[in-house]
């Protein structure tokens, strides 16, 4: 790809980007959200047409091509959200993308091809399995086999590890190495520096739609990459005072939550978080973390069990009551839950305070008070925006998350429930979030930090619990953590007996 440029209105998504992927190489494409990675790949795959620049694949130019032509040329794209039909089998899903010969579906032949590919690359796929019953890692391998059987010589993987457990990530990387050995090429899009360094031969870093740097992975370390991504140094050591924990601030007792279809998402959880402590809950997405958070903050009522804030039972109260009691919440989904992206910064900062002084005065909303509050928070949290009246949608992911943090932490809460607070953020913004969490901890707050990233949990947490299928598979002090064991627990291979709970005190409210 040479000199690729693309603008959407006034936004320059790509500016004269050169990207070259040699045969048998894995090239990492790094960059924060909005840096232009996705646009570049959409141009490559023919989803978006470039304003300028040329694409050449195996010596032949690709001009004005459609995704279908990209596939035919030998480019395979594996999106972050899989493009599979859940109710169909592996074979049927693979057949969907294959060119048919004659009028017959040759299911048996395709199934054999899948078995062959499965054993060749170590995919471990059963052609007859229904896709919706497969774990996410296996679904991703279905996508890979789909691309390979379509004859893809260049695979593009968009954030392929974001919903995988550590063992699944390791398996994926092994598969990619085998593909490389065969002479296939891979573009690996990620913002996880560790994985990129581990698997890629070279890295291209995008920032603001331009190439901010490129390097052989052998010659760089993560600090250099992070600097390229953000444009400044971000790896100053984290300021972490030893924990001086106080009283139990958040207590969760025997919490059980069934979803609408009657399935238990949270199964009898009990734990507590003390003042000045960060408890991280790690786990692969979908193991009950989201439901747990919703029950704790009051969006959902538990089927049974209770939640205590500073000793008071708040189980009967709603979201507003718990928020008033000092419970702050950074939800996982910034764009639809944490923020109203079509409203202004000032309105978003007042989202949880609009019904009380100073924003509400008598029956009126005080626009001036709202603006004043917004100015204060924008300054305190270094939100980069033209002003309080700026519509949130126009801001970067990092600045959007700063608004959420400013709103939730600006009121000096006693407890913070943070769900995936760094998801999709670049290293600079991630660092900001972690610093804010640790500042709250230092001020005596209790933090429940829900994340899928072990490394991040180790950075912030005093204790780490592993969520697996709605239960705590283990609860360990930070000093006692063994990463391999935690990884296995996340994958459900190990269940730490309740001894951990006994050791660190199941609360008796």
């Amino acid at each position: 790809m040479r000199q690729i440029s693309k603008s959407f209105g006034v936004v320059h998504a790509n500016r004269s980007i050169d990207l070259e992927v040699a045969r048998g190489r894995i090239v990492g494409l790094l960059g924060e959200n909005g840096s232009g990675k996705t646009t570049l790949m959409n141009i490559l795959f023919g989803i978006v047409a470039p304003d300028a620049g040329t694409i050449e694949f195996k010596g032949r130019p690709l001009v004005g091509h459609s995704p279908r032509e990209a596939i035919a040329a030998g480019i395979g794209m594996i999106h972050q959200h899989f493009m599979l039909v859940p109710a169909l089998t592996v074979t049927e899903n693979v057949m969907l993308g294959l060119a048919t010969t004659g009028g017959w579906l040759r299911a048996a032949g395709v199934a054999k091809q899948i078995r062959d590919a499965s054993s060749a690359y170590g995919l471990g796929l059963d052609p007859a399995a229904r896709v919706e019953l497969l774990p996410l890692g296996a679904q991703q391998r279905v996508e890979i086999v789909k691309a390979v059987l379509r004859g893809a010589e260049l695979l593009v993987l968009d954030e392929p590890t974001s919903s995988l457990s550590p063992p699944e990530v390791a398996a994926l990387l092994a598969i990619l190495r085998r593909l490389r050995k065969e002479g296939r090429s891979v573009i690996f899009i990620s913002h996880k520096l560790g994985e990129v360094l581990e698997i890629c031969d070279e890295v291209v870093v995008l920032r603001d739609g331009q190439v901010a740097g490129r390097a052989e992975t052998a010659g760089v370390d993560r600090h250099a990459l992070a600097r390229m991504m953000v444009g400044r140094d971000v790896n100053a050591p984290i300021d972490r005072t030893p924990s001086a924990t106080g009283d139990e601030r958040l207590v969760v007792a025997n919490l059980t939550e069934r979803d609408a279809s009657g399935i238990e998402r949270v199964r009898g959880l009990s734990f507590s978080v003390r003042a000045g402590e960060v408890l991280a809950l790690v786990g692969v997405d979908g193991n009950g973390q989201a439901e747990l958070a919703r029950v704790i903050v009051g969006i959902e009522r538990p089927t049974s069990g209770a939640v205590f804030v500073d000793g008071a039972d708040v189980t009967a109260g709603g979201v507003a009551a718990r928020h008033a009691a000092g419970l702050a919440h950074v939800p996982a989904d910034r764009a639809t839950t944490g923020l109203v992206v079509d409203m202004t910064i000032a309105e978003n900062l007042a989202l949880r305070a609009f019904d009380e002084r100073p924003v509400r005065r008598g029956p009126w909303l005080d626009g001036d008070a709202m603006t004043a509050l917004a100015r204060e928070r924008i300054a305190d949290f270094g939100i980069r925006a033209p002003g309080p009246a700026t519509v949130v949608r126009t801001l970067s992911g990092g600045n959007q998350q700063k608004i959420v943090l400013a709103r939730e932490l600006g009121r000096r809460p006693s407890i913070l429930v943070a769900e995936q607070p760094t998801r999709g953020l670049d290293p600079g913004a991630t660092r900001f979030v972690i610093d804010q969490v640790l500042a709250l901890r230092a001020a005596g707050g209790a933090v429940l930090y829900i994340t899928t990233e072990l490394e991040e949990a180790l950075l912030v947490a005093d204790r780490i619990g592993v969520m697996y299928q709605g239960r705590l598979a283990g609860l360990l002090r930070r000093e006692d953590v063994d990463i391999t064991r935690l990884g296995l627990m996340m994958a459900g291979a190990l269940e730490e007996p309740s001894s951990a709970a006994a050791l660190y005190g199941v609360p008796t409210p």
Binding site: G298, I299, G318, V319, A320, H323, H329, P331, D333, T336, T337, G338, L339, V340, V341, D342, M343, E347, A350, L351, R352, F354, D355, R360, P363, W364, L365, G367, V391, R393
Partner: protein
């Protein structure tokens, strides 16, 4: 700017249709303009026509802001008219100023009640509000018919209508030389009130948050059910008021089918006004004047009145297309 351009385009396209019908479009539009604005009497008639549109459109706009698709205006207007009529006929001896106020209040209450029924079915039985409000329109209109066939009907009229209401219940005229009644003042006041409610009060904030993102509303501690119920009742009250105004200010009696088409025009007006109370006002006036002008156009040039519906429809399509095309989201 965009809505004005859309109106111009719609008029231009309709001109082609008028030409196709063998008439002179310039004469036709001159007659339309004269019919709408040619005298105080005509202006008064247009404003009278616009009043129920503005009132009902305000309620629809507030509902749509919260993503509550209430299309029950028609039935709510009908029952508002019914309640106002009943009140005026039942308490003819009430003092002159009190009676219209009482009748207006009864109309608003009836509309609100009818909307509350729809909201309750929506919330407790989970039936989508589009379906509930649509179906309750038929029920509401038929209740009015039933009442006019029975106790409320004028004996020997030969047409389902109520007896003439006592003069003391009529809305006062506010412009000499025209039929303009006080309803328009009420509409103007309520436009300002709705604007303040939407943009300056906590309830409006809740509405806008809910409409922009339901998960964010729940996260912020806003109850979607409570907001839905309240905004529907509010819209019902406005529609009921519109029905009462129409009865007390224009017809001075309840006539079968008097609300026909009002509810759906109100939806169009709310959208044309970009769901903003202050712009619902000109949108409602546009529809009102277009209709009074159209009658004159028909008389003068012989252009069929249905062409007015064509202009309205084309304008809607142009405006909504322009909004969609711009890709720009309006502020919520």
């Amino acid at each position: 700017m965009r809505p004005i351009l859309a109106v111009a385009l719609a008029l231009a396209l309709t001109a082609l249709l008028i030409v196709a019908a063998g008439k002179n479009p310039f004469l036709a539009y001159a007659a339309l303009g004269h019919g709408a604005f040619g005298s105080w009497d005509r202006i008064g008639a247009g404003l009278n026509k616009a009043t129920p549109y503005v009132l009902t459109g305000l309620g629809v706009a507030l509902c749509f802001r919260a993503r509550v698709i209430n299309i029950g205006g028609e039935g709510q207007i009908a029952l508002g008219g019914l309640a106002a009529t009943w009140t005026a006929l039942t308490f003819p001896q009430a003092p002159p100023v009190v009676l219209p106020v009482l009748a207006l209040a009864a109309g608003a209450l009836a509309g609100a009640g009818w909307a509350a029924v729809a909201a309750a079915i929506r919330l407790h039985r989970g039936v989508h509000e589009v379906l509930v409000t649509l179906l309750l329109n038929f029920v509401g209109v038929l209740i009015v018919s039933e009442a006019l066939q029975g106790s409320l009907g004028e004996p020997g009229a030969g047409f389902p209508q109520s007896p003439l209401l006592p003069r003391s219940s009529w809305l006062p005229r506010v412009l000499s030389g025209s039929d303009l009644h006080a309803g328009i003042l009420l509409a103007l006041v309520l436009v300002v009130v709705a604007h303040a409610l939407l943009w300056r009060m906590p309830f409006g904030f809740r509405l806008r948050v809910l409409g922009a993102s339901a998960p964010a509303a729940v996260y912020a501690g806003i109850s979607p059910a409570r907001v839905l119920f309240r905004v529907m009742v509010l819209a019902g009250a406005l529609a009921g008021l519109a029905g009462a105004v129409e009865v007390l200010g224009v017809h001075y009696r309840l006539i079968d089918g008097f609300s026909h088409g009002f509810g759906f025009n109100a939806v169009a007006i709310a959208l044309l006004g970009a769901l903003n109370p202050l712009t619902v006002l000109p949108a409602g006036l546009f529809f009102g004047f277009l209709e009074t002008g159209a009658l004159a156009m028909q008389r003068a040039v012989g252009v069929p009145t249905p062409l007015v519906a064509v202009i309205q429809g084309l304008t809607m399509i142009f405006i909504l297309s322009a909004m969609g095309l711009s890709g720009r989201r309006s502020k919520v």
